[in-house]
């Protein structure tokens, strides 16, 4: 069974550009979470999608947005990129009713903003 897959693995952008990161959850999982892992800041919760709806949002500006598609895959969009957006972005999935121990993480997309 395939795990959580994220693409691309690496992404290089310049300030002011837009970045789109993609996540495919484990088959059968309806909830997708996004986390930002910036150097020295640990993992910060970004967004939670379930059944196509945004259910919760972390303390990030509106230029961080996303969506979940009918097949439960998800996109994270970051507009007007800033240098401090450089980070590893991790996606995780589980079934909505499942406990947190059923949360599985992808390997992440490393975003570098130059």
């Amino acid at each position: 069974e395939a795990g959580v897959t994220q693409s691309p693995t690496h992404l290089i952008k310049t300030r002011g550009q837009q970045a789109t990161l993609r996540c495919s959850p484990i088959s059968g999982h309806t909830s997708v979470y996004w986390y930002q892992q910036a150097l020295g800041l640990g993992l910060q919760f970004l967004l939670w999608y379930d059944e196509g709806e945004e259910r919760n949002r972390g303390n990030f500006p509106p230029r961080f947005s996303g969506r979940q598609f009918p097949n439960y895959s998800s996109e994270l969009n970051v507009n007007a990129l800033e240098l401090e957006d450089s980070a590893l972005y991790l996606c995780a999935s589980k079934n909505r009713g499942a406990g947190a121990e059923k949360l599985f993480f992808g390997s992440g997309t490393q975003l570098s903003v130059l």
């Binding site: 959580v4 640990g42 993992l43 919760f45 995780a92 947190a100 121990e101 993480f105």
Partner: protein
């Protein structure tokens, strides 16, 4: 508000020596606590979890953790580390309201031969 603190940013330990990673949490109710490991270039892997019951929990890869309510701590231990244990370790607390994990800042473990 809930928070998780990992006081040690880096720890260096010799192979075969014991390891203890500290985690303190701030949470009003009984917390659901987790430890994850992240190897270079990898996502997060769940090591162990505490929900209730026995305060000493066993995990994978020979790790264990002890929940101490009086100290608001959930420290991770391993009696004898292997070179493959070199990684970053994250403590996390799950809050049902909001349905999200809140992570500590992580502790990077280096293993000396």
């Amino acid at each position: 508000a809930q928070s998780v603190t990992q006081p040690d940013i880096h720890i260096t330990v010799s192979e075969g020596a014991s390891l203890e990673l500290r985690c303190n949490y701030s949470y009003g109710a009984t917390p659901y606590l987790f430890w994850y490991v992240q190897s270079p270039g990898q996502g997060l892997q769940l090591l162990l979890k505490y929900f209730s019951g026995d305060t000493l929990v066993q995990g994978i890869k020979g790790f264990e953790a002890e929940f101490k309510r009086s100290q608001s701590s959930f420290n991770l231990r391993k009696p004898s580390v292997h070179w493959s244990d070199a990684a970053e370790y994250f403590c996390a607390v799950f809050k049902a309201a909001g349905n999200k994990l809140t992570f500590g800042g992580g502790t990077r473990v280096l293993v000396k031969p």
